[in-house]
């Protein structure tokens, strides 16, 4: 049953989740903040009660502190409901966080781990770009400066440098977990394909980022890497020309790698992660093979 799309699964057990998916006031017990309409605040303190206290306070010439506290407590709730009324964002939150997960263990967090590694790379990368100079004459010097002189520069660059390795490591673990669980099968084949594209793009990030410090190691490693691309039959030399921006390794090569590294590929990765997550939410996750079908009812009782 887990292999069916969500819409088909729902028809088996109509009481299972229609209640909370369709309207917030249904039988499912969800926080009062998320309820819509005037019944939201419950019986204890409505709006009328708060206004009455405020008028009374004028006459007595002093502030009613407990009433103010209640009003203050209302502020985040009303802010959230203001936002909810206009965006319907709680539906997204429910789809993301309150979806059913059919049996899982810690290995199911690897995908999120890769995503957070990517976010860490994105954030540290943005701040490294504030100090980095992508010119042939300035790249090495600016890297040295941001590493040795800038406050916390060593830490931020270190996070970016080692984080890249961590991200690729986690990516392979995530891929292996998906493979061994069998989560690439129908109807999730497309998500596997998107994941493979994300793997290739992440490796391309590693390749293009390696050049940027522009020391001897990164220079010659990139020369070798570009020439490995050139060794591909027929199209290889053209690919190498594209990467170098010409037939020789020159000034355009570094700025090209920089643009690919910080603009082109991160945009593609961000878009594909969104597609990847959308398919995870639409299709749900796969139960591990050792979770038996008979246990499913017991598991669904535990949920929420």
């Amino acid at each position: 049953m887990n292999f069916l799309p969500r819409t088909k699964r729902r028809s088996h057990d109509p009481t299972e989740e229609n209640g909370k998916a369709e309207n917030g006031n249904g039988s499912v017990d969800i926080p009062g903040v998320l309820h819509r309409g005037p019944g939201r605040n419950g019986a204890t303190n409505g709006n009328g009660d708060g206004n009455g206290n405020g008028e009374g306070g004028k006459g007595k010439g002093r502030v009613d502190l407990p009433a103010l506290g209640q009003q203050a407590a209302e502020v985040p709730i009303s802010a959230i409901s203001w936002l909810e009324e206009r965006t319907g964002g709680s539906a997204i939150g429910r789809a993301l966080l309150l979806r059913k997960v059919p049996g899982h263990d810690w290995s199911y967090t690897l995908g999120s781990a890769v995503m957070f590694a990517f976010l860490s790379q994105a954030v540290t990368g943005v701040f490294l770009a504030m100090y980095y100079d992508p010119s042939v004459t300035g790249a090495y010097e600016s890297t040295r400066h941001l590493t040795n002189d800038v406050f916390l520069g060593e830490l931020v660059r270190g996070m970016h440098r080692w984080g890249s390795t961590v991200m690729i490591l986690l990516l392979f673990l995530h891929m292996g977990q998906t493979f061994f669980i069998g989560a690439y099968k129908y109807p999730r084949e497309l998500n596997w394909v998107i994941g493979v594209v994300l793997l290739v793009l992440t490796l391309a990030m590693g390749f293009t980022g390696y050049l940027l410090p522009f020391d001897q190691r990164s220079f010659w490693a990139t020369v070798v890497g570009v020439n490995i691309n050139a060794s591909g039959p027929v199209v290889g030399p053209y690919l190498a020309d594209f990467l170098r921006g010409g037939s020789e390794f020159g000034a355009t090569t570094l700025s090209r790698f920089y643009a690919i590294h910080m603009l082109l590929i991160p945009g593609l990765i961000g878009g594909l992660i969104a597609a990847h997550l959308y398919l995870v939410i639409r299709l749900g996750t796969t139960a591990p093979p050792w979770v038996k079908a008979a246990k499913k009812k017991e598991l669904s009782k535990e949920e929420i």
Partner: protein, 219 residues
């Protein structure tokens, strides 16, 4: 609104015939015309920025950027036929600093030893290994060029002696004017020391393999 004729004629343009303002006898409904028009406009607008950007990024592939200039490396007295003398030349002049320079090995051609038909008065070899582009080093004791990366070894005239390189070391055109030697464009050679246009390292120039790496517009 005219009553539509059902089942008489089927045209892909007429699936909107029940919509308001559709009338009898028209070949393309207003709705499908506007849908097609909006899509075409979007396509033209996307192509208007997409194609120039693509051409901008891919342009260097189709543009010959090899410099045709000759660079002076010193008087004839600096060089002999017995050994190679390293000289530094700038191959990428524009804004590349140290990264645009490269070392070349220069030796006077010896008619008794060099039987190639390349016709260069001086033999100038690149330091770029024909395997993957690492810098090779000349060792006089063994009269060999040795690459530090993956163990490529070349003979005195640049032919492959061992290791992974697929062809001899590239050479440069040379000329002598008023007693001074100058170095011109680079070219590649196959195992018989026959001249070809510049190829990337790892590109074969012998046997059937050479047909997988045809000459390309950028060199």
């Amino acid at each position: 609104m005219a009553t539509p004729r059902k089942g008489k004629r089927k045209s892909p343009y007429l699936k909107d015939r029940h919509t308001p303002a559709a009338y009898e006898g028209e070949t393309v409904t207003r709705r499908s015309l506007f849908t097609g028009g909006a899509m075409a406009a979007g396509g033209i607008a996307s192509a208007a920025f997409g194609l120039p950007a693509l051409g901008f990024a891919l342009g260097p592939i189709f543009e010959d950027d090899t410099p045709g200039t000759f660079l002076d490396v010193g008087p004839e007295a600096d060089f002999n036929t017995a050994t190679y003398v390293p000289k530094v030349i700038t191959i990428v002049p524009r804004g590349t600093g140290e990264a645009g320079k490269t070392t070349v090995y220069v030796r006077r051609s010896d008619p008794a030893r060099d039987r190639d038909k390349l016709g260069q008065p001086y033999i100038v070899l690149t330091t770029r290994c024909a395997h993957l582009g690492c810098p090779v080093r000349y060792v006089q004791a063994s009269e060999r060029f040795i690459c530090p990366c993956h163990g490529g070894v070349y003979e005195f005239d640049g032919k492959v002696s061992g290791g992974p390189p697929v062809r001899p070391l590239d050479r440069f055109e040379t000329k002598v004017e008023a007693g001074r030697v100058s170095v011109g464009p680079r070219f590649s050679v196959n195992s018989k020391l026959e001249r070809h246009s510049v190829r990337d390292p790892s590109n074969h120039l012998d046997g059937l393999w050479q047909y997988l790496y045809p000459p390309r517009p950028s060199t």
